[in-house]
Amino acid sequence: MARAFLLILILAACSGCLTVIDNPQVMVDGRSLYERECLACHMSNGGGVPGMAPPLVGSPWVAGGRDALVGYVLTGGFSPQVLMSRFDFLSDQDMSVLLTYVRKTFGENGTTISTDQVARIRSEINTLN
């Protein structure tokens, strides 16, 4: 199941991409969400912990397709949560702000992620479950 879902995400590469919140406040809010939810394991520089939590800098999940990143973080890695929890309790708004911050700070091209996109992936995951 998880694999099939991954494929769907990768194939469903973002076409008509969505309008996004793209202002300095996003980076401020995104950073505080990152500090609250992710920093403990991935560290403030996104470097991770060798052998324990992978770096976000240089991660294909962060730099690659946006749908895949949203899916990864919502589900905690598409698999039984044994190393990273799922973050589906974050609102669409918070998730888009957080992941925009992550992509802009640690990703290479750093494009944004919209709330619509988070909402769409969330409902796709829910229908698959």
């Binding site: 920093l39 403990a40 520089n45 470097g47 060798p50 052998g51 190393l83």
Partner: protein, 438 residues
């Protein structure tokens, strides 16, 4: 004289009353590494006066524990974790010209990622993620020419706390640490507000120590093992002490008090607790995970917040074992040993060296604990405050992120001449340490 009278009185007192107090603050005794002493970045380790280290080997891979054969050959385990580690298996090393640097290096079991290594009756025991193996040697061969036997298998597959570390006693029993597969047995893994499970199903085949026959073959945890002690999150450091005839261990305390329960814990408090606990392994003992943790600042065992605790409420005394020593939170005790050599000054004899891999769960505060400490023993218990035996591994004064550490100490073993070996995970380095008195 009044003064010496007092000293004698204190000595008598401390002999009469075994010291069961816990002590967790960093203590800089005269024997500790001098924090102002110079540091050589190339060497990567700093020691107290009189000790000298050499870089014995730099091995490509994620290094783990060490064991030394009677002939002086050093064995070094390599594992792979979350894509870290380029090699796995066991590295055999000899320093044939005795210059402190290995010059004969061979590898075997290169398809088995593992952590724990120990000799027992001249066989090498190796703990992987799901098995304990036994390698036998034909004579003086450096690498075993026959394939290993499985001593015990059938441990659950898990990705967290997966290393099967062990201790072997003088009656051929092997005590295997089966770590907890989660942080605190919450219903939802590491999720704010998720309650702890009671009973915790993760204590059925995990989170404890199981006993087997060290001479046995193809034993299975479920059919041949007996649960020896429970409530142990991950006893990475576990050793038999032949003098006191008991097993000692240290566990990795739980993480994330602040991130999961910001209403009860500040980031600063959560960076210092819970303690990393040192214990004696007792048959039938319950060491309190996941229901409780030890707080050395309050010197008591606290009810875990997943089970209704608030950071202050303690659990009934006697319900769970009390540590014989406690160390600052998140330092990650990865290995320990008792010094039985005669090369080091006599005060080291029968005391314990403990290797702390160093924290990650202190962020955003600076990381700590990347050091080897020494704790003198009086009879079977720690006797006094502990001292820093080796530091400097991180290569920096203030470490923000574990990934910036150049070395992270992880394993320790004693050689036939009383010398020590210390290994590092991230760099794959092994140091040899001798006492020269200079």
């Amino acid at each position: 004289m009044y003064c010496s009278g007092l000293v004698v009185a204190l000595m008598v007192f401390s002999l009469a009353v075994p010291k069961t107090d816990v002590f967790a603050s960093e203590v800089n005794t005269q024997y500790s590494v001098d924090p102002n002493s110079p540091f050589t970045a190339d060497l990567g380790v700093r020691l107290p006066d009189g000790f000298k280290a050499t870089v014995y080997a730099d091995i490509e891979g994620y290094g783990r524990h060490l064991a030394v054969r009677d002939d002086g050959t050093l064995y070094f385990a390599l594992t792979v974790r979350l894509g870290r580690g380029s090699n796995m298996g066991i590295v055999a090393m000899r320093d044939t010209d005795n210059d402190g640097v290995a010059d004969d290096i061979e590898r075997f079991a290169t398809d088995i990622p593992g952590t724990a290594l120990e000799f027992h009756n001249d066989d090498l025991y190796y703990g992987s993620k799901t098995e304990i193996y036994r390698f036998s040697f034909n004579g003086g061969e450096m690498v075993p020419s026959t394939p290993p036997e499985v001593v015990v298998g059938g441990f659950p597959e898990q990705r967290l706390h997966e290393a099967k570390t062990f201790a072997i006693d003088d009656k051929n029993n092997i005590y295997v640490n089966v770590g907890a597969p989660s942080n605190a047995c919450m219903e939802e893994f590491r999720t704010r507000g998720s309650p702890g499970q009671r009973p915790c199903p993760q204590t059925e085949w995990q989170s404890g120590v199981w006993k087997f026959d060290a001479d046995g073959t193809n034993q299975d945890q479920k059919t041949n093992g007996s649960l020896y002690a429970t409530g142990i999150r991950n006893a990475m450091a576990i050793k038999w002490n032949d003098e006191h005839k008991q097993v000692y261990f240290l566990t990795h305390g739980r993480d994330a008090l602040f991130t999961l329960y910001p209403e009860y814990f500040s980031a600063e408090k959560s960076a210092e607790i819970p303690s990393e606990e040192m214990h004696v392994l007792k048959e039938g003992g319950d060491y309190g995970w996941p229901f409780s943790y030890f707080d050395h600042q309050q010197n008591k065992r606290i009810l875990a917040p997943e089970y209704g605790g608030d950071g202050n409420e303690s659990v009934a005394v006697g319900l769970y074992e009390k540590p014989i020593a406690a160390f600052p939170g998140h330092w990650a005790p990865n290995d320990m040993m008792f010094y039985t050599g005669s090369q080091f000054p006599s005060r080291y004899q029968d005391g314990a060296f403990i290797v702390f891999h160093g924290s990650w769960n202190r962020a955003p505060l600076p990381q700590r604990g990347y050091k080897v400490i020494f704790i003198p023993f009086n009879e079977d218990l720690p006797d006094s405050d502990w001292e820093v035996f080796a530091d400097g591994f991180t290569g920096t004064d203030v470490l923000e992120s574990p990934g910036d550490a150049v070395h992270r100490p992880t394993g320790i073993a004693q050689g036939p001449n009383g010398e020590l070996y210390i290994s590092s995970t991230v760099s794959g380095r092994v140091w040899r340490i001798n006492y020269t008195g200079e």
